[in-house]
Symmetry: C2
Subunit: 131 residues, 2 copies
Amino acid sequence: MTDRPSPDPAAPTQELVSDVFARDCTSRAAFEDVTSKWASLVLLALGEGRYRFNALRRRVDGVSERMLSQTLQTLEGDGMVTREVLSTIPPRVEYSLTPLGARVAERLRSLADLLESSVPEVRAARERYRG
Amino acid sequence: MTDRPSPDPAAPTQELVSDVFARDCTSRAAFEDVTSKWASLVLLALGEGRYRFNALRRRVDGVSERMLSQTLQTLEGDGMVTREVLSTIPPRVEYSLTPLGARVAERLRSLADLLESSVPEVRAARERYRG
DNA sequence: CGGTATCCCTAAGGATACTG
DNA sequence: CAGTATCCTTAGGGATACCG
């Protein structure tokens, strides 16, 4: 974001038109990556601070080792998460958010807060709907 | 939300402790519902205004009839979307957001905006990651 | 137009075992 | 501890056809 050259009105606007609705847009892929079942919870957890692998696994209730590993790789690939290997015995690996990841996590937190406080409303709606 | 009785400090705080990290919490289920692949895009679309079924299908690039129908039912069940049948010939069905759905859509919009404007950063991260 | 029903296939994802 | 590898099951989801 900050490493883009200052906008030149005459230059082609390559990515200023990115659209999350478009099937092949990178923004939609990134959106799906960060909102996927486990990634969103991982980002929320890392929004609380850095975590080691197994601590993260305990925090994100229900995630398997496989899915956690896979999710972390995707998020690292998208530039949301930083992976740091500490050369200790036994080995430690710590995960934390990049600046971009932190901005994403903030917005996910805002959404989670809303839903956590809307549980009674959602429950009422469900009962009304199911009859 | 507004149909809850005014908070009584002595009353049991049943849902004030809802936690999106807990496997069996309604807030986590609702969170997964609204962040699921198609639901999030449907909510974003309806954040722009009401839509009829096929218009919505065109707006949400790539969704099948089946998934759109299914997604709309889930969102209606959770109290996010209102379905209105107009008795005209041919029949029209219009979908719009409830107040809760609108609040959710706002937050999803905020997340989508961020990712749309972060495309260059995500792309750069991906290239760095893949080498 | 606005769906539902059926069929089918792929990929998400859990369990378990094993490695650096 | 922090994973990868393998196996296997389930469910997400596309295509098609049909109905009110």
